[in-house]
């Protein structure tokens, strides 16, 4: 099995799905001849032509809205938002339209749409090229939301999203693009939406996270092993619907849980995960639920000390894990 980069896994998923189904097409800003500002769609227009890899006018609500129209007609659009920060002009189309089309038409019309958007900081992107907007969409019934960490999941979840009969927001982490590599099969497979994955088995503490912070969690867990702390790591992979059973099982394993994400703490996905655990497992816990998240500021600053302060890293994660283990 080939070891490839996260960004290549995303590109391969699109290429394979476009090969498989001629109704799949990509649209967005700069996705065509340039191949995307991150090169995510590089080579696709050469292979599939301008009609199926469509450079759109710079207008995010139209990118989402046109994709919704095409999806209602029966196509399988993959709409790219250049940065998730620029997704907000399309929020009405996503929340008022895509999410409600099946429901409001009583199952008559459907919207099988994928919206890809890069999330996360650490690239000196400042306030508007660094955000994690998942909590804005999280809790909107009708949407599915995935946020892969491993290249294997990046490919398998994108393929599953394309085949899904409902709208899926696919949050890819821009810091993961080149940093995270892993084994990815060449053959056709999907990773089911709605299933979390145990990244590491452990006995002392459970860490639940998604996307880029898992890189720090894995590194910290390896370090803590030498201190005699054994960490169980759950990658949520899908944020909506949350894998409730997977979460409860992972927490039961150790009785101590730390939830980590880069999105800010208040109202984040971690709050819902905490509530599920509190509702179901309160008396099986050996420590209060802990969260380690981005601070509650509007977004991260561009100055290096500020960005570093905002972002998670191995040391911050390790310290939180150690504290929980020692509780």
């Amino acid at each position: 099995m080939a070891v490839i980069e996260y960004i290549d896994a995303i590109r391969k998923a699109m290429k394979e799905e476009m090969d498989r189904d001629e109704d799949v097409f990509v649209l967005g800003e700069d996705v065509g001849i340039k191949g995307g500002v991150f090169t995510t769609t590089k080579g696709l227009q050469e292979q599939f032509g301008e009609d199926r890899v469509l450079d759109t006018p710079l207008a995010e609500s139209a990118i989402a809205g046109v994709a919704i129209g095409a999806a209602m007609y029966g196509m399988k659009p993959i709409a790219e938002m250049q940065y998730s920060d620029f997704m907000f002009p399309a929020t009405n189309q996503i929340i008022s339209e895509a999410a409600k089309i099946r429901y409001r038409s009583n199952n008559d019309w459907t919207c099988p749409l994928v919206i890809r958007a890069p999330i996360g900081g650490g690239i000196f992107g400042g306030l508007y090229h660094s955000q994690c907007p998942e909590s804005v969409f999280f809790g909107t019934p009708g949407l599915k939301i995935v946020a892969p960490y491993r290249p294997y999941d990046a490919k398998g979840l994108l393929k599953a999203a394309v085949r899904d009969p409902d709208p899926v927001l696919y949050f890819e982490n821009k810091k993961c693009y080149k940093l995270i590599t892993g084994e990815v099969p060449d053959d056709d497979y999907i990773v089911p939406i709605g299933k979390a994955n145990v990244l590491r088995e452990g006995d002392d503490i459970t860490v639940i996270s998604y996307s880029m912070p898992l890189h720090f969690v894995e590194q910290a867990a390896a370090d803590l092993e030498s201190e005699g702390i054994s960490a169980h790591i759950l990658d949520l992979r899908t944020l909506q619907p949350l894998d409730k059973e997977g979460i409860l099982e992972a927490v039961r394993k150790t009785g101590k849980v730390l939830i980590i994400h880069e999105d800010n703490k208040t109202g984040g996905v971690g709050a819902e995960v905490s509530a599920i655990i509190a509702e179901e497992l309160l008396y099986e816990l050996d420590a209060p639920i802990m969260r380690l998240c981005g601070p509650d500021v509007p977004a991260m600053p561009i100055n290096p000390p500020g960005e570093k302060f905002f972002l998670l890293n191995k040391e911050k994660v390790k310290e939180a894990m150690r504290q929980l283990a020692l509780y």
Partner: protein, 344 residues
């Protein structure tokens, strides 16, 4: 009943490609929409329904536009006043009354949405929402998809002049212009966005905006049925020929208040309303049919009797039809919400 044939003295509809029968059907649909609207007002005032948003004064343009489309292939994205339009493309009074009473059998939404939020996949009426003009990019997407699939059809979308100020209108028009897509954008300019008059909404004509998107824009008298028909028909021909979109601004007047919750005399005068009521396109079109020799007052009386019966039937049917079950609230969030009892 026997219908007199056209005398040939007044044959504009024949020149435009409408048979006598089609010309009369158009009229019957306009009157049906008007009578529906008046009945809904009565039902609301009688406390039978909670709310009605009216289309009175807009039926002529709606119906004429529908007749200029291919009612077997085209896709429609109407806005909430388009009762005349949806009746013209196949929705029935029963369908509308089921929606008004929010009953389970309502084909638009199964009793989930407010009336006027149309949708029927069978009739290619694309489901709509309340935030205005979100349907414009959808119409563009449908046209894009049809073009990709090489299916010769047009998507037709309507909206008010107030909502032509929304970003989605501009973003959608621009996208359609760039890709020369087969879309017809029709603004039903009824002079008011609830209480805000046109001079506080627009500093120029809506139709002139087309210039900025690279396609033609036309103003048309929305009370002139045959003129609206002609303009939409020509727009459709251009779209099918690959010549791209058209923006049509149909000028009309919202004769009714915005909705049953609105007191319009708080912001406009009775004189203004009466002046515009006198310009109503339905009696004008009726006179045209009479002058053409294909319509009579007797036939008109028969038509009104027939519509009244249909409305009585539809009202009773809608009123008596069962509501959705409370538990059905949980259904159809996702395709696979089977664990909630939904369709697998």
């Amino acid at each position: 009943m026997t219908q007199p044939a056209s005398t040939g003295q007044n044959v504009r509809h024949l020149e435009l490609g409408l048979s006598d029968e089609q010309a009369i059907d158009m009229y019957a649909t306009m009157v049906t929409a008007r009578k529906f609207d008046e009945r809904m007002l009565l039902l609301q005032r009688a406390g039978k329904i909670n709310f009605h948003v009216s289309g009175v004064g807009q039926e002529v343009a709606q119906v004429a536009a529908a007749y200029a489309l291919d009612r077997d292939t085209d896709y429609y994205l109407p806005y909430y006043r388009d009762y005349g339009f949806v009746l013209a493309v196949g929705m029935t009074l029963r369908d509308l009354l089921l929606s008004v009473f929010a009953k389970a059998e309502d084909p638009n939404s199964g009793g989930r949405q407010m009336p006027g939020h149309f949708g029927s996949k069978k009739l290619r009426i694309v489901t709509g929402s309340s935030p205005v003009t979100t349907q414009v990019p959808h119409a563009v997407g449908i046209a894009l998809a049809a073009k990709m699939k090489k299916n010769p059809l047009v998507s037709f979308v309507t909206f008010g002049e107030g909502s032509s100020n929304q970003g989605d209108f501009h973003e959608g028009c621009n996208f359609a212009g760039v890709h020369k897509l087969p879309v017809i954008f029709m603004c039903e300019n009824n002079q008011y966005a609830i209480s805000v008059p046109i001079h506080k909404q627009l500093a120029a004509k809506v139709s002139d905006r087309a210039l900025g998107y690279g396609f033609p824009g036309f103003q048309v008298d929305g009370n002139d049925a045959l003129e609206v028909f002609r303009v939409v028909k020509e727009a459709r021909e251009r779209a099918i020929a690959g010549d791209g979109p058209t923006l049509i601004e149909a000028l009309m007047y919202r004769i009714s208040p915005h909705s049953t919750s609105d007191n319009d005399l708080a912001y406009r005068t009775k004189e203004e309303v009466d002046l515009n009521r006198a310009k109503d396109g339905i009696p004008k079109y009726k006179q045209y049919l009479i002058d053409s020799g294909i319509w009579t007052e007797e036939l008109d009386a028969e038509l009104h009797t027939k519509i009244r019966k249909l409305l009585d039937d539809a009202t009773e049917y809608g009123d008596k039809a069962p509501f959705p079950t409370p538990e059905s609230t949980m259904l159809h969030v996702y395709a696979d919400d089977a664990e909630q009892g939904g369709k697998g």
